[in-house]
């Protein structure tokens, strides 16, 4: 018989596990909120178990237990497990080989992370590196024993890379690639042929097909446009306190002479309605300024004034056009 307390603890543990997935569906999320709202003991149990599950101490304990198993207690453990299974012989063979394979082989799968509008997320990779991914982004990751490789298909990502002397970490963004050992840097895929990189700690090597490799250090910024590298002036705030991660992770974008289309793409990450530039010349219009892109209405109001635009909020889209045609009243 399960007591009420045991039942709550079991339910809480179930939720901890369910929430620890790349995605949980809408009905499960609603059920979770309902369960949490129902009883203070639910909330307390969940908070405790979630803290335990996330704790570094648990990770350490698991690592130690793994090390102990690898050091020769493995055969005993495996035998104990197999005898406990009471399955037919073929299953045993399959299961045993699967278990052995797992020990010997690295995971060769590519993991792909996609984010929707307004929903950036932080990802911890298998090697311990952290990635802050913007909204409307896609990142695929492959961690091999000899190499760590990620590809930014769209969006923007801030990498805090775990240092490993022998295993480089490489980010591909179109034809651009950034190579590091351990450091923190931002990669912004502004369009199919345009990528901006800024370094927040350490150094990286930037590679593009039609340019010599260059090394960027802390505070350095560069853009790759159409396969060529253009170094920008270093960030003057690089050594300021608190400048340890890019503005966008807090919902801001600092534009220094970038095409309007780049700014709009950033605002788009936070706007459910698509934003359309109705005149192709607008897309190329250079803009500068510091914008709170997490607040689309505010940004659009600001550029409407500054660049004489007309912003129309239709049901299906937000449309931006030059208002030059409209006579000033």
């Amino acid at each position: 018989m399960m007591t009420r307390d045991m039942q709550i603890a079991a339910d809480a543990a179930l939720w901890v596990n369910r929430l620890d997935q790349p995605a949980i569906d809408t009905s499960a999320s609603a059920a979770f909120d309902a369960w949490m709202a129902a009883d203070a003991r639910h909330r307390e149990n969940f908070a405790d178990l979630q803290a335990l599950w996330h704790s570094d101490t648990l990770l350490q304990a698991l690592e130690q237990s793994e090390a102990a198993v690898a050091k020769g207690e493995a055969p005993v453990a495996l035998a104990a497990r197999l005898s406990g299974w009471r399955r037919s012989a073929p299953w045993l063979a399959v299961a045993a080989s699967a278990a052995m394979l797992f020990v010997a082989m690295p995971d060769l799968d590519v993991d792909t992370y996609r984010t929707g509008t307004g929903n950036g997320r932080t990802i911890v990779l298998a090697d311990g590196s952290h990635v802050d991914l913007s909204g409307n982004a896609e990142l695929s990751v492959r961690i091999l024993p000899w190499r760590r490789e990620v590809t930014l298909a769209r969006g923007e990502a801030f990498f805090d890379v775990a240092h490993e002397r022998w295993r480089p970490f490489q980010v591909h963004s179109g034809s651009t690639s950034v190579r590091v050992l351990g450091t923190a840097f931002n990669v912004d895929r502004q369009s199919a042929t345009r990528t901006a990189v800024e370094v927040y700690r350490g150094a990286v090597t930037l590679e593009a097909p039609r340019a010599e490799d260059i090394v960027l250090h802390k505070g350095d910024r560069a853009r790759v446009v159409d396969d060529r590298i253009a170094a920008q002036t270093p960030n003057p705030d690089a050594n300021a306190a608190g400048h340890d991660r890019p503005d966008w992770t807090a919902g801001w974008f600092e534009a220094a002479d970038v095409p309007m289309s780049v700014l709009i793409a950033k605002v788009q990450r936070y706007s459910v309605r698509p934003i359309r530039l109705r005149d192709p010349r607008l897309a190329a219009l250079p803009v500068s300024g510091r914008f709170q892109v997490s607040d689309p209405a505010r940004v659009l109001a600001a550029i409407r004034g500054a660049y004489a635009l007309e912003v129309r909020y239709d049901r299906d889209a937000i449309r931006i056009a030059p208002s030059a045609a409209v006579p000033a009243s």
Binding site: A10, E66, A68, G84, A95, A203
Partner: protein, 172 residues
Amino acid sequence: MPVSLPQIDEQPGAAPEDWEAITAALSRYVRARTSRSDQVEDVVQETLSRLVEQSRQQTLVSIYALGFRIAANLLVDHHRRDRRYSNEPMMEQISEAPLPDRVITGRQELSALTDALAAMPPLRREVIVRRRLRGESCAAIARDLVLSLKAVEKHITRGLADLHRAMAGRDE
């Protein structure tokens, strides 16, 4: 210590959130995660303000799930910031330095957990290691170990309960 509750204009039609309950749950979680008691209030407060901001922008699927995720991310940020200010000056070593709560954490907690892991049925321990240490999905674990998905979930929930009991027993 008092944590002031966020003010939010209720949107017509939206279910009112119980901010007090949310705050209490998040505080409990954050307190358990950090050894820096001075950070608890900051982290909870910032979590709440981000949560409010998000719930203004869109209807949230789960306010609790998002709240715990934001708090977890902020804790990581705080740890990183601490590390940077304490012993930076150069790049490379930093990423190898352990998180502060890793250093300060009592050895007791660690040995309570390792003991509990050692006492577990080996299959259960393996499921937990794969899930938490290696980040494998329940489906992948079920496939590799020839278990049903339900059985994997059961191992994880029971395993977590074992570990939790071990931690609680240490306090008594």
